[in-house]
Amino acid sequence: MLARTANDLFWMARQVERAENMARLLDVTYRMSLLPYEIKEPGEKWAEPWAVPLITTGLANAYSERYPGVSAENVMRFMVLDPENPSSIYSTLRAARENGRAQRGTYGIEMWESLNATWLEMRSLTFEVIQRRGMSEFFDWVKERSHLFRGVTFGTMLRDEGYSFIRLGTFFERADNTARILDVKYHTLLPSIEDVGGAVDYYQWSALLRSVSAFTAYRKVYSDLITPFRVAELLILRDNMPRSLHACMNDIYDILKSISGGQRLEPERLAGEIHAQVHYGQTEKIIEFGLHEWLMHFVEQLGRLNEEINRHFLVPVYN
């Protein structure tokens, strides 16, 4: 298929997934902010729940250039509606729709209508309207629109190359998001893995699990206290946990294998190499290595994989 088409489809899916992840992150942050919490070390800005979405997305600097101080309303405005912030829900849905519009000839009308209707509704919203209807209502709506789009895609789209690149975009964004969320929480909230306990910790960790829809799964799998060790295991190594790194890498590797069509290209090899680390990895070893270091290494490898995918499929350069 046309490389630019594949690129647009890949990014269309990534942006929808990104909007959903942002909604999840903001939703738990919002719920958290309703709870009483203690600042562990005075002056430690990480402990402010509304700073978390800024750190996770690497947008703290961009934010501070545009807004004075970290407050619930300002972060919401920045992350939900600010057209100047490329990671705001507004911007990601707009970008998804623009990518989709450029390629609307390559997939069915129902997918397009779902994407377009989402954008048209998003465009009509103001902060006041969202507030009046309820923040959580809004985040649920974003998640539902993402579910709907993925469902329409899954349920209607021809299993062709375009479908593969759409799925690839979804899992790529999801893996990246899970790794970043895990890193920020771990890095900023719990410098020591033995530092377990306390109501704040409980809520912080349960919020993390909720932000990746893993709270119920955790209970089912472990039927026990929430510990950082197990959270890491669940979100990195459990392959039956759909937002875990292992589950995402399973899909990424399979898709790249099928796209490569037996040519043994570098993207397939590299995906296999990353996949092996989560497939055969052990939580103890990861913690020993340093969770933060391990996650950063993982994100770097994803970045390299993305470059290889660009070079071979999405933005090929000949001559």
Binding site: L2, E98, R101, R104, N116, P316
Partner: protein, 463 residues
């Protein structure tokens, strides 16, 4: 809908009876549903000059325009004749120039025309077809009395609205299709793809066809995506193509793939920066070289604009007589050439009765509708004409057909025209129908969507 005596025409009778039983509210609701369908499907167009990215709906009218079988058959014969002659003319002026040598058309008007492409001299195109897709704008002045307003031989648009209008009508008012035997038009994309296959370069058995678009800022972008999807072909931009050894390739996820036929919706000027406008980023460097080598077909061919120029329009009946030895079936609207002194004087004396157009204008911009204009507007235009008369032509306002149209005050007559889409490959074909455009403002004759025009579904009745 009504004849000159005010009686409802027989072919509108079933519609009129059906309509009687329904309230205005019913139509308001249906129209809102139609708008919602168009908007949800993203069937919008961009208006130049407005804030970039602005998308607007083209107003859709729920009252169909109905053409009886016999009238359509006559019109179709006239279209085949006219487009056939235009293609012969294009081949001729880029080869032997018989029509110029015999003095039928003044050579200067062709060879000095900005749309004439000397690069096309002696270049062979498959099947000697130049205008593969032609949109001929027609008005009907009475039964079987059709006038051609304009030939569009470059990149005519609007066919997606023809197809979408039918889809929306069938979904909103299915019972009407039980009252009328309406000829189907939905196979247009198949006919188009088949036509494009027919004109592939020699020796190519299974041609790869692509649609070349300027990109999503183009006002007709919806149509480009729509047609590419309907034909199941790739929608490419200039950056997706490259030329190596006089062969055009597209960049795919599996490496370079050869392209044989390009249905291009990019103007001549922008196709190849090495040959035409050097600042174009929409085109493909080297494309013309591949084209000249016969390694790729462009549809439409380069240089068709010289034949649909408004100053060439008045020669089309002579082209038909010269190439086909037939009398024209479709009439030309009498046209005054303002570069002629007599015509100029007549036009300046009768501005309030005439429509004055720029020779190279398009889209309903830069024209004066004499009867509808104010005195001040006419005087302003008069000054522009006097300053450079050769830039203008003028035509009388015909007593154009009107069609009942849903407007604020209920249903009222509005002026309409019709753009059938004529396809030329090994033969000349079309689907029965076209895009009916309607001037929504009372008394207005301007049907262009950029100027407040709307569209209707067009029904040709089965014999």
């Amino acid at each position: 809908m009504s004849g000159l005596d005010g009686r409802i025409l027989p072919h509108y009778q079933p519609y009129a009876s059906w309509r009687e039983g329904r309230s205005t509210e019913y139509f308001v609701q249906k129209r809102n549903e139609a708008d919602a369908m168009f908007r949800r499907a993203g069937i919008t167009f961009a208006v130049y000059g407005e804030e970039s990215g602005t998308e607007r709906l083209i107003p859709f009218d729920l009252v169909p325009r109905i053409l009886p079988t016999a009238e359509w058959e006559l019109l179709a014969r006239g279209l085949v004749q006219r487009v056939g002659a235009l293609n012969r003319f294009l081949h001729d002026i880029y080869h032997d120039q018989a029509i110029l040598n015999e003095g039928i058309v003044p050579p200067r008007k062709v060879l000095e025309n900005a749309q004439y492409r000397p690069e096309m001299r002696g270049l062979a195109v498959p099947g000697e077809v130049y205008a593969h897709i032609a949109g001929i704008d027609i008005v009907r002045a009475g039964p079987g009395e059709f006038y051609v307003l304009e030939d569009n031989l470059r990149v005519p648009s609007g066919v997606s609205y023809m197809l979408e209008n039918r889809k929306v009508m069938m979904r909103l008012l299915p019972e009407l299709f039980a009252l009328y035997p309406v000829e189907p038009i939905e196979h247009y994309p198949d006919l188009l793809l088949d036509t494009l296959h027919q004109v592939a370069p020699g020796g190519v058995n299974e041609p790869t066809v692509v649609l070349l678009t300027p990109g999503h800022y183009n006002s007709a972008y919806f149509e480009h995506t729509f047609l590419a999807q309907q034909m199941g072909i790739d929608l490419v931009e200039g950056q997706d193509l490259f030329v190596r050894d006089d062969t055009v390739y597209m960049r795919t996820t599996r490496g370079p793939q050869r392209v044989d036929v390009i249905y291009r919706r990019v103007d001549d000027d922008f196709l190849d920066p090495q040959v035409f406008r050097p600042d174009s980023s929409l085109g493909v460097p080297g494309l013309f070289s591949a084209y000249r080598a016969g390694r790729v077909t462009l549809a439409n061919a380069i240089g068709t604009g010289v034949a649909d120029d408004k100053s060439m329009y008045l020669h089309v009946p002579d082209m038909i007589r010269f190439y086909l030895d037939e009398e024209p079936i479709l009439n030309n609207v009498p046209t005054y050439q303002l570069r002629r002194r007599d015509d100029l004087k007549y036009v300046l004396d009768h501005l309030e009765e005439l429509v004055v157009k720029e020779v190279h204008g398009a889209g309903g911009y830069g024209m004066l509708i004499g009867p509808a204009a104010t005195q001040a507007e006419r005087e302003e235009f008069r000054a522009r004409i006097v300053a450079s008369p050769e830039k203008y032509i003028a035509q009388p306002t015909l007593s154009l057909s009107t069609c009942p149209t849903f407007v604020e005050s209920g249903i009222a007559p509005r002026h309409i025209d019709l753009r059938p889409f004529v396809l030329s490959g090994r033969g000349i074909r079309m689907v029965p129908g076209g895009l009916t455009r309607v001037a929504l403002r009372e008394g207005s004759l301007v049907v262009n969507s950029s100027q407040g025009g709307g569209t209707k579904d067009t029904w040709v009745l089965e014999a």
